[in-house]
């Protein structure tokens, strides 16, 4: 089954490459997205027997979660991108389409691979396949962003590779056969050499953290998100980061199995809270609302890491937050993309009164903001609140306090920017050929918002089970 998930997007990519017409080609995206979503749901919920292809390729609970998240987000983004590319017909979209499909395949490989070496390869592949997407606009700035993303990303990934090797090597001192296969590692986790294992943990945290965009390795993020089209931002903030987080979850899983809880907790809490406050400081008085979203993504990666650091009672919330964050980020980036197109600027000095000019996108942007900052009854509220509950019931009062404080800082910063975007009187001068809300670019966002709200109101039982399984995988109690 794993091969299907990896290969059929590649086939679609090939097809897309061959299609000559700029108008027809984008339709390969929703086709692949729909098929992928269908396959994911089918495999995850109905075919438990397909979950294990071989020792290297299998789908465990965290994998299932991320697979569903990525596939859902990709589906809506693909719908959106049809409408989006319709607006950008002057620009060729062959690379765009192919790279998106390649990413889909590689993401599939990431979630399926149960072998850390293989997973590393897949992650690096996602990096490479997404790089050209940032360069879609083909101007100097996007070029610069792509360059930084590529180099910093590759460096980070290289560090992750070193970490992977460390991990493999940590078996040697106690005379075991070096391996990178998850099950074997989990089996011999308690016997791993502490020094090497901890070093590996840190290297992988920094390496995959670069890909997730934890401070201080986040530096590529605002540039990439700011210059890439909104839909790519959504794919990044919802999809790529989730894959990287999954990759990091593996080592966390191992550390839990190895009983390294005390050591990891300190480091994770530090890194997570650090990312949150750094993001907050950059968000305060941020005039560029796409960079703002990038920093918000940094913040939420921090929240995820904090959740892992708290461990035990907070794991459920963390797992849930992977989903809620991705969906909400999708809403935010897509609506922000619309606003950007309508005003031909992403600076709050020019952008006012979005609600009056783009009723749907404006309101969706505002709603997404409220959701991401944890207002009930949206999804992120549930996840963030249960992370907080975990912190308190885990007795980590200082963490909880800082967590709330940083959430507040972020809220203040985001609030100022978002409100000045959506409120007020829209500038008089209409941009020639300025974008107006249309079905194809609003409907997917609307549905995503619906999903976000749904996750806040009712979490379907199957998803609930997956979350619980994932918590168990990570060494928590269901």
């Amino acid at each position: 089954m794993a091969f299907v998930f990896v290969l059929f997007p590649l086939v679609f990519a090939g097809v897309a490459f061959l299609i000559p017409s700029n108008r027809l080609r984008p339709w390969t995206l929703p086709a692949a997205g729909a098929l992928h979503l269908a396959l994911s749901v089918y495999t995850v919920f109905f075919r438990a027997d397909l979950l294990r292809t071989n020792g290297w390729l299998m789908l465990d609970a965290p994998g299932k979660l991320v697979l569903l998240v990525v596939s859902t987000l990709f589906f809506f983004c693909s719908l959106y991108s049809v409408g989006y590319l319709r607006l950008r017909e002057n620009r060729g979209n062959r690379v765009f389409t192919c790279c998106l499909l390649l990413f889909l395949g590689m993401a599939g490989l990431v979630v399926w691979s149960h072998h850390l070496g293989l997973m590393w390869v897949a992650i690096e592949a996602t990096t490479l396949s997404t790089a050209p997407l940032i360069y879609f606009n083909q101007n100097k700035k996007s070029l610069e962003a792509t360059w930084k993303y590529l180099v910093i990303g590759s460096v980070g990934i290289a560090i992750a590779l070193l970490g992977t090797y460390f991990l493999a090597y940590s078996t040697v001192p106690s005379g075991m056969k070096p391996t990178l296969q998850m099950d074997e590692l989990l089996a011999c986790a308690p016997g791993l050499s502490k020094g090497w294992f901890r070093a590996a943990f840190i290297l992988l945290l920094v390496g995959y953290g670069t890909k997730m965009g934890l401070a201080p390795m986040h530096t590529w993020k605002p540039d990439a998100y700011g210059e890439a089209p909104g839909v790519i931002g959504a794919i990044f903030a919802g999809g790529v980061t989730s894959c990287a987080f999954l990759a990091f979850l593996r080592i966390y899983q191992l550390s839990a199995a190895a009983g390294e809880g005390d050591f990891t907790t300190k480091i994770l809490l530090f890194m997570g809270l650090f990312s949150m406050i750094v993001a907050g400081l950059f968000i305060l008085g941020q005039k560029d609302f796409k960079r703002l979203l990038a920093y918000s993504s940094v913040e939420h990666m921090g929240i995820l890491i904090v959740g892992l650091g708290i461990g035990g009672p907070a794991l459920y919330g963390t797992m849930l937050h992977v989903a809620t964050n991705s969906m909400t980020k999708g809403v935010l980036f897509l609506s922000a993309g619309n606003i950007h197109r309508a005003y031909d600027s992403k600076n709050t000095d020019q952008v006012h009164g979005a609600i009056s000019r783009l009723p749907f996108s404006g309101i969706l942007f505002l709603a997404g903001f409220l959701a991401i900052t944890g207002s009930p009854p949206f999804g992120p509220f549930v996840s963030e609140f249960s992370i907080l509950t975990g912190a308190v019931s885990g007795g980590k009062f200082v963490t909880a306090g800082l967590f709330l404080l940083f959430l507040l800082v972020v809220f203040i910063g985001m609030g100022q920017t978002v409100l000045s975007v959506v409120q007020g009187r829209a500038p008089a001068g209409e941009i020639p050929g300025g974008y107006r809300d249309r079905f194809s670019t609003v409907f997917p966002v609307l549905v995503l918002m619906g999903v976000t709200l749904l996750l806040g109101l009712v979490i379907p039982a199957p998803l609930q089970n997956i979350l619980k399984e994932a918590v168990v995988c990570l060494g928590g109690k269901a």
Partner: protein
């Protein structure tokens, strides 16, 4: 065989320092190529019994690191019409000294805390660490895009050295995957550098600082 291995590793360390020292990008490329090729050969050299997989791996690695990548780099170098890395962030001599100091420190350090695993006889671990750090040094101190790519390659080599310790842990497919990624990565990067060269009519990354918080 450990002696031979150590000898090669020493050569590699020296190559690091030369790479740091030279300002002619052309020669830097060559040295990195030589370094890569040497590393690729190690598995064959130190292994008593030859296994097909290791041979394949080595051959591919040599081809890639010794020939293909240098070619790509040279192409973009020629198209950029630049020869030297003028005025790096830190002068050339200081970087060499820093590199040497780092290498020395790491050697001493690895002696002091004896690395668990009994591999203390070989220089593998210190060599890989110092090579990685030299790679970082290049990445941080050089302004020309190509030099930074070289830094990335050196880093990659360092990691490759560490990979020696667990040839059997990393299966062929993964190794191939790593190499493929490396190749594609360099390929994409070189495309981007060409674009940069066209857009900014230079490979000086100091011009790529328009995206920032002001």
């Amino acid at each position: 065989m450990t002696e031979l291995l150590n000898a090669i590793l020493v050569v590699i360390l020296v190559l690091n320092l030369f790479t740091l020292g030279t300002s002619r990008i052309q020669s830097a490329i060559r040295m990195v190529a030589v370094q890569g090729a040497l590393l690729a050969l190690i598995p064959i050299l130190i292994r008593e019994k030859f296994s097909l997989t290791s041979v394949i791996a080595s051959v591919v690695a040599v081809l890639l690191k010794g020939i293909v990548i240098p070619l790509i780099m040279n192409r973009s170098l020629r198209s950029a019409r630049i020869k030297r890395e003028e005025t790096p962030l830190i002068g050339l001599l200081p970087t060499v000294i820093i590199g040497a100091v780092i290498t020395g420190l790491i050697l001493i350090f690895s002696k002091m805390v004896n690395v668990p695993g009994g591999q203390t006889t070989t220089l593998i671990v210190p060599a890989s660490f110092s090579t990685i750090l030299v790679g970082f040094l290049l990445l941080i101190t050089r302004y020309k895009a190509i030099s930074q790519v070289l830094g990335y390659l050196v880093m990659e080599n360092g990691i490759f050295i560490f990979g020696m310790l667990l040839v059997e842990a990393v299966p062929l497919i993964v190794e191939m995957g790593v190499l493929l990624d490396l190749f594609v990565g360099i390929f994409v990067i070189s495309i981007i550098t060409n674009h940069i060269n066209r857009a900014f009519s230079s490979l000086d990354t100091r011009r790529l600082d328009s995206l920032k918080e002001e």
